[in-house]
Amino acid sequence: MAKTLLQSVNLYCERDQRVLFENLDISVSAGEVLQVEGPNGSGKTTLLRILTGLSDAYEGDLLWQGQPLQKVRESYYQEMQYLGHSAGIKQALTAEENLQWYAVIQAGHLNAGSSSQQRAGNIADILAKVGLRGYEDVPCHTLSAGQQRRVNLARLYLSSATLWILDEPFTAIDKNGIATIETLIEEHVKSGGTVIITTHQDLKSVPNLRKITLGEVLPA
């Protein structure tokens, strides 16, 4: 059996005197995809932010490889890549500059041993892969919403993290783009990676898919 990476035990979260979820037990292992579903306002983003360790507005336990997440934060962040709800890029910077900064701050899970020239080459390649060839050096505010989203998604190529946590990655992205990302997820999972994702999209080609649905348990 594959090793459990991230585990939540008896997770409880309330917001504005409303219970979002309770007794939530999640566990994901290597090579698995967990799709979180639920209507708007059911707490999908909240759950994902809790799982990244950003939010601590919960009760219960979160374990990373069997250890409490708060205690192993550093090593968790070496292995975890989160794409949030918001664009995650600076409008004033070019796509390349954005990725360069990310390459440095994500350095814990950057493909090791790359010099700055190699990295520049890498970044150009990566931007080409997400279909932004020729847009490397224009400020991001001139890009369309979908293109900006692609700059953000390009970070997945930059990273060697095992666990990806993706919050609505398909927003504002066209059909081709969706196919590209699905392939990317598929490859990641096949090589032993793990993905936790919220989306309304059907992930047909993705192996080892499990789903959980939030917002079904009404408060008693």
């Binding site: 910077l93 701050i105 994500q106 814990g108």
Partner: protein, 225 residues
Amino acid sequence: MSFSKLFMATLKRDMTIAFRHPSDLVNPLIFFLVVVSLFPLAISPDARYLAEIAPGVLWVASLLATLLSLDMLFQSDYQDGTLEQLLLSPQPLYTSVLAKVVSHWLLSGLPLALISPLLALMLFLPSSAMPTLMITLLLGTPIMSFIGAIGAALTIGLRKTGLLLSLIVLPLYIPILIFAASAVQNAAIGLPVLGHLALLGALLVLSVVLAPLAIAAALRISLGS
């Protein structure tokens, strides 16, 4: 990953962004200029009188200018989601926070200190006090950036942050104001200022060491809901 690489990357990023929005750079300076020129209009254009209040006026004005520039520190990073990525980085938050505050100072406090002699002339500050004025500003504005950043980090994502931020931060600025303004006053009447400057320097060291810890904690708290 070395300390300097991470520090420089964030510093360079923030500086690049600021230079692509030049108005953000110039606005605090204009504010400083306008506030300082209000005092002769409100009180009196009499040179002797102005020279007497000049240290206090210059210092209060630069304090307010710093205060108003604080919201550019984290607010836009918060809105576009890069701040949460910074918090999720495996790199030490201390370093990146330090880089952000230093770039804030380079973009707000340093220019203030550099143009202050010009405004001091308008207020007839004795030229013997000019070097002290610049030194106090060079020492004091980074402290204000550091302490202000704690307040800015605590108020991220709240509505109507401007007034709240001033309420939180201004009382903490009082010691800097006292030491710095009285140093300039002393310099103007020919008294020694080394003690004041040493105290400001000590405060600067203290804030460089401690403030990033508080800022990092505050950022995690503010993004944690």
